[in-house]
Symmetry: C2
DNA sequence: GCAGACCGGAACGATCCGTTCCACTGTTAG
DNA sequence: CTAACAGTGGAACGGATCGTTCCGGTCTGC
């Protein structure tokens, strides 16, 4: 037993293990393109049958939840990585660039509400918020972030970038980077700027995604 | 004949005429909230039966098209009104504020693709682009708009604002205004700004909405 | 007072999609 | 070598949704 031929792609077991990844990858691509896509589309994209999906996930909701949780974890990982960066403003900058490039936000936002979140997700979401707030604090400390920007503005910013969409995925990435650059410039300190209008976004105002969805 | 009682709200005719508006208003509200809402939802919101809808529109697609065309006309009207403003930068500013407040973009973007556009809409879309380009030109002339911003950036900007969404519509409006303020600050001229990355959005890159939608 | 505009809403038919089920295949344990 | 079986493809099912049609009823305008 145990890897009879040492080759990495032998046997049914290995094939199955590889399918694990293929399916997740396909699901990510498909649901990123259309959050309401049928499950069959995922199977087709992955080049497997529907059974291969149902063997791994209890149902569509289960798959969606896992996918979304992965996105959340990625977000946290990027935040932690950015916090290791010594320069405050660079950390802030780098973090946003990474998150936008990884398209984490689309997953999180467009999929939230299509499943009932686990408690662990709730905890992770809290941690994500804390990390983001820490990055914003440091950005404020650097003096490069305009004083009336708040942590929740990150949500707005990421949503804005995720909204950019053209048929070609690569081009989409470029345009999102452009959008991000504009937004970052808008959030930067300038001498004679008018203050941002209206009450700033509050803490709970974006968590509604993690709860209902009538 | 002709208005036997001079009152504004008498008779079946008047009721019918009023329904015209009520239905359009309901349709706007419903499809703004969910572009894939069933037609029955519009009828319910309007407080009328389904027949009242089908008496006025050949089908769902017809209603959607009309709704979207109205949005386009509103966009054009706002652009023309803004062009009458003497100060270049103020015109640019005012125009965007109005369009964001009127939520024109949501209609246009989320509904496009759900119907086959008429030729007149194609012409109107062209005119809209010309007017927007004129506003951008004037904004450039004022020296307040950063030189590497192009007309197509308006599309990106409006999309970003429309992406902001919370349950309460009024609050949504406030947050969009905030978003707009950040974006405008980002598009404003500042002395030592880094140039915007990547190739700028090109002319045809957003017209794909007006064509297919597999 | 009657023809018909106008309307409400039930009913229909088509479509779509999540899930189940079963036959099949190559693998692995003994 | 072979009997079990994990793993799979994909057809089929049942439920839900939704656009559209249709019919019976009501009130107006002449």
């Amino acid at each position: 037993m145990s890897t009879p031929p040492a080759k990495t792609l032998a046997g049914r077991r290995a094939q199955a293990a590889r399918n694990d990844e293929v399916i997740l990858e396909a699901a990510r691509a498909v649901f990123l393109d259309d959050p309401k896509a049928p499950i069959a589309a995922v199977a087709e994209r992955a080049g497997v049958g529907i059974s291969a999906l149902y063997r791994r996930y209890a149902g569509k909701e289960d798959l969606l939840r896992q996918l979304c949780h992965d996105g959340l974890r990625r977000y946290i990982a990027e935040a932690e990585a950015a916090l290791a960066e010594p320069d405050d403003w660079t950390a802030f900058n780098r973090f946003l660039g990474r998150v936008v490039d990884a398209d984490v936000h689309s997953l999180t936002v467009h999929l939230a509400g299509t499943f009932t979140p686990t408690e662990e997700m709730g905890r992770d979401a809290m941690r994500a918020n804390e990390l983001a707030a820490a990055l914003v604090d440091r950005a404020h400390a650097s003096g490069r972030l305009r004083p009336d920007a708040v942590a929740q503005d990150l949500g707005l910013l990421l949503e804005a970038c995720a909204a950019v969409r053209v048929p070609d995925p690569e081009r989409t990435g470029q345009l999102r980077r452009r959008q991000l650059a504009v937004l970052l410039a808008g959030l930067s300190t300038v001498p004679d700027a008018d203050p941002l209008p209206g009450p700033p976004p509050a803490a709970g105002e974006f968590d509604w995604r993690w709860r209902h969805r009538a």
